[in-house]
């Protein structure tokens, strides 16, 4: 089981958000910080953090924090919160 906090931190770092920003409801198309360049950083950060390699379709589909949680499940990363 992985700590959801690690995923939250990956989002905050990649999207340049303050450390205590709530991110659980974040949506790609509703957040100005989360542009296509930040998306690439986010994918790289998540891959590093959880030591996985994410396929193209999942990069395209990772359009919200909750979707990221779901997609990571496919790669064997389950969260304990």
């Amino acid at each position: 089981m992985a700590d959801l906090q690690r995923l939250r931190d990956a989002f905050r770092t990649s999207l340049d958000l303050p450390a205590d920003t709530p991110v659980d409801e974040l949506q790609y198309q509703d957040n100005a910080q989360w542009d296509s360049l930040a998306h690439m950083s986010l994918i790289a950060a998540i891959e590093d953090e959880f030591s996985i390699m994410i396929d193209t379709d999942d990069v395209i589909n990772m359009s919200s924090f909750q979707e990221a949680v779901r997609i990571l499940g496919k790669y064997g990363v389950a969260f304990n919160e």
């Binding site: 690439m40 390699m53 396929d55 193209t56 379709d57 990069v59 359009s63």
Partner: protein, 354 residues
């Protein structure tokens, strides 16, 4: 997974239905589009793709053409033309997501589902101002999604960064990797460097775009480009593509054996005689029309380009459907479709350009 699956007859049937629905949709949602269609006498029943009413692509530079409300506009894409005029393309959230997904599906037809280590034949300074990318920056960034461990092959002055290219190949050159860049940059700054330094690109897949105009001085045409990359750098997987911001998400991709571009299942091309607008058969060059079911938020589903093209064959190549190539731009006067310009004899006729 591939989006190059439909033989021409099946594609024609599917596209006529979907594109007819899009004509009706845009007619109802985009008043300037409806006025153009009414003025040109377009009906509402179409038997073939070639029957569908087209818009000259230039209109997106002159008119605000969108089929969504102002409050639904999520992204406005612009492309700078050679004269400084700018096309404005309006996407809502659904259209933005669809174009990314379908571009992804198209590229995965040749790359597979895994993201490959990626050498970008461009400079990172392209993305310096992240609030306002150039069309080139947006193109590079759009394609970067399909790679990982990105390395830029050019330094901030746009010169080849030989150490970076060598470093990339040392780390990833022994397994499949992806190279992306604009055609003339690949030629001038990757091919030349690879030849000079004896670099091995044999595990690479190159995806490139941007036209051949800048390579005329080098006497490089598409065949020579492929041949020299193969002979001098071992690069055999090479895919050119053709696409435009006015039909974002739709690209026509060169097949594995080269020489022809193919249409994904949701798109097609029609070549027209610039004098009569009649559809021309394979082998006859003319004005290229591109159709796609992706444009739902703006009426870009049937566009007459200003490019010359020729269909080489139908259902007889690497993938089903039409295969074609682009032969450069129509001289500007001709693109207006003014028949008077032909009679002076100054502008070349399409048939003479092949």
């Amino acid at each position: 997974m591939s989006v190059f699956t439909l033989p021409q007859a099946a594609k024609e049937t599917a596209l006529v239905k979907e594109l007819s629905e899009l004509v009706a949709h845009h007619r109802a949602a985009c008043p300037p589009y409806a006025r153009i269609l009414d003025a040109s006498g377009a009906g509402d029943r179409f038997d073939t793709v070639a029957d569908l009413p087209w818009l000259p692509v230039r209109l997106f530079k002159n008119l605000e053409l969108k089929s969504i409300g102002d409050d639904e506009v999520f992204k406005v894409l612009t492309s700078s033309g050679t004269t400084g005029e700018v096309s404005r393309i309006y996407l809502d959230k659904a259209a933005a997501a669809t174009q990314t997904r379908m571009l992804g599906a198209t590229v995965q037809s040749v790359l597979g589902p895994k993201r490959l280590p990626m050498l970008l034949v461009d400079t990172k300074s392209l993305l310096k101002d992240r609030r306002s990318f150039s069309a080139r920056g947006a193109g590079v960034l759009g394609m970067a999604t399909f790679g990982r461990d990105h390395v830029w092959a050019l330094d901030s002055d746009g010169k080849p960064d030989v150490d970076a290219i060598r470093g990339f190949l040392a780390a990833h050159g022994d397994q499949p990797f992806l190279i992306f860049g604009f055609t003339y940059l690949v030629w001038l700054h990757l091919y030349e460097v690879a030849r000079e330094h004896g670099l091995d690109l044999s595990n690479g897949t190159l995806i490139h775009s941007g036209g051949w105009k800048k390579l005329v001085d080098q006497a490089v045409d598409p065949d020579e480009f492929r041949r020299r990359l193969r002979v001098d750098a071992g690069l055999t997987r090479v895919h050119n593509f053709y696409g435009m911001v006015e039909q974002i998400g739709t690209i026509f991709l060169e097949g594995p054996s080269g020489g022809s571009l193919y249409c994904p299942d949701f798109a097609d091309v029609v070549v027209r005689d610039p004098d009569t607008w009649a559809e021309l058969p394979p082998g006859k060059p003319g004005l290229l029309e591109v159709v796609s079911t992706l444009p739902t938020s703006y009426p870009g589903h049937v566009l007459l380009t200003e490019d010359l093209g020729v269909v080489h064959g139908v259902d007889d190549g690497d993938w089903p459907g039409k295969r074609f190539s682009v032969r450069g731009r129509l001289p500007r006067a001709e693109a207006r479709g003014c028949s008077d310009t032909y009679q002076g004899g100054a502008a070349p006729r399409a048939g003479a350009i092949a």
